[in-house]
Symmetry: C2
Subunit: 292 residues, 2 copies
């Protein structure tokens, strides 16, 4: 029996928000259209954060509105708080994403509150979203290491993932935010979390900072995960090292899954076409690393 793996495309959000240039709404809409045409069914479309802090995600409402009523694709948007949720609801969002960190220092530096406070902030957001019939996806950051603390205990990762699931997230994506993991560490982390949250509700989210993302995904597939985040063209770079790799490239994930015999419904060539479009719009046409 052919097994299905769902790919969650994060290029239009996690990818573009880490690029220096800001793309206009119509370009972001075209990019998402191309990703839909490639067969993706979950595409993170933007975020409702302060446009002063993250100008790349300004006008996410207009992006969402371009897809109003569109069937067959879920377009989650990131929301940091109730204000963001209200804006997302007003724009017609049918799915949101929230985020917590497995590292106390990263939580403080990234969202300016403790892990516990972040859950207090998100509880009413999730409650309100669910009352509106809006699905909620959760992210855990720093699952294999933190830029400030170094190693992060597996039990803390499992705690945070379990709390997100308990809050009502239908899926929890485990993020190696700084791309420091290697395959056996990734396996051990996933196994620890899967003791507390069912594997079918878990996703993995790897960054290719040290070139390990595809290997880590392979190890996690062996452990049983069946949802994988990717960013077309590896969009997102790495804010710490110009030119360095950021999010794992969706086309590399598709190549891996095709080769392992999983069914994804996603066409690698069409993903690369979408990626080329976005990279050219960013003035980075030469950054495409894969050929046919």
């Amino acid at each position: 029996m052919v097994e299905h793996v769902r790919i969650v495309e994060v290029g239009p959000r996690d990818g573009l928000q880490n690029e220096a240039a800001t793309l206009p709404v119509e370009t972001r809409v075209s990019f998402i259209e191309k990703l839909i045409a490639a067969g993706l069914t979950t595409i993170e479309a933007g975020s409702f954060v302060s446009p002063r802090r993250v100008p790349q995600m300004a006008d996410t409402a207009a992006v969402l509105k371009a897809f109003a009523g569109r069937r067959g694709v879920s377009l989650p948007v990131l929301v940091p708080n109730m204000t963001g949720l209200e804006a997302a609801l007003a724009a017609g969002a049918r799915e949101i994403a929230i985020f917590a960190s497995a590292s106390e220092s990263f939580s403080q530096k990234n969202i300016n509150c403790s892990i516990a406070e972040s859950f207090e902030r998100f509880a009413p957001v999730v409650e309100r979203a669910q009352a509106e019939g809006v699905a909620v996806r959760g992210y855990v950051s720093c699952v294999l290491g933190c830029p400030y603390e170094g190693a992060v205990p597996l039990s803390r990762v499992a705690d945070v993932a379990e709390r997100l699931a308990a809050l009502g997230c239908y899926e929890v994506s485990l993020g190696d935010t700084i791309g420091v993991g290697t395959p056996n560490a990734a396996r051990a982390m996933l196994r620890a979390v899967a003791e507390r949250v069912p594997m079918k509700s878990l996703a993995v989210h790897f960054h290719d900072t040290k070139g390990q993302a595809v290997a880590n995904i392979y190890a996690c597939l062996e452990e049983g995960v069946r949802v994988v985040d990717g960013s077309a063209g590896g969009l997102g770079g790495c804010p710490y090292a110009p030119g360095a790799s950021g999010n794992v490239a969706t086309e590399d994930v598709v190549y891996l899954l095709d080769g392992l015999g999983f069914e994804t419904g996603v066409d690698r060539a069409a993903i690369m076409e979408a990626a080329r479009f976005a990279l050219e719009a960013l003035g980075k046409g030469g950054a495409m690393r894969r050929g046919p």
Copy 2:
């Protein structure tokens, strides 16, 4: 017990011969010096092929001579035939590498003879080398696919590897020349070969053309291989797609092995320093994809 993995650095040969620019002898010598300083003990230093066909490898004799009498490091050079061997011996080579293809079409197009003819050509070369006390390493190309034939039968890969070992190669490096493999295919291939050649005499050589190299290496380590080829900085590009990835980057291999708890004796930061030196000399300073 900490297990050792030996990394065979191929940047100064397989890497540089696929770059557009030709580096002068003194730059190639400095590059090799930096690789030795990084802890590598096997570094492919060049090849004795026609400088008209491969200008990047011209004057390999002068490169070798710069290391005459150097202890603690093996500097194999590629030789295609008896003429190449004579030149290598005259330059003081203590180790050579020979190559055969697992694909009949690739053999014809690459070295202009059948697989059987390539063994007829190499038999006296290996005999002569061994009479001079020179070690011989063998390469098999196209072990996971051929650009002309597509799939290559595992039995053919195993045959060619076994013949190289029988000829007298102390080690046989299994090359995914066009970078098309994925981890389970790599596992199956290695397993098929290891039924005919002891695992301790096998190495794996992956290209990152589709972003799968590190994952493939991980799978092969799980199968028991303990020798891995790499090219500092991913030197080598891909002749078919400008800007695309070629050889797996040695720094990514070291990161993987460190993370898995293997001992290599190789320092990742020093490898990146050597890679940066070579990339800058090639006028490709911006091609360095990894940060610290």
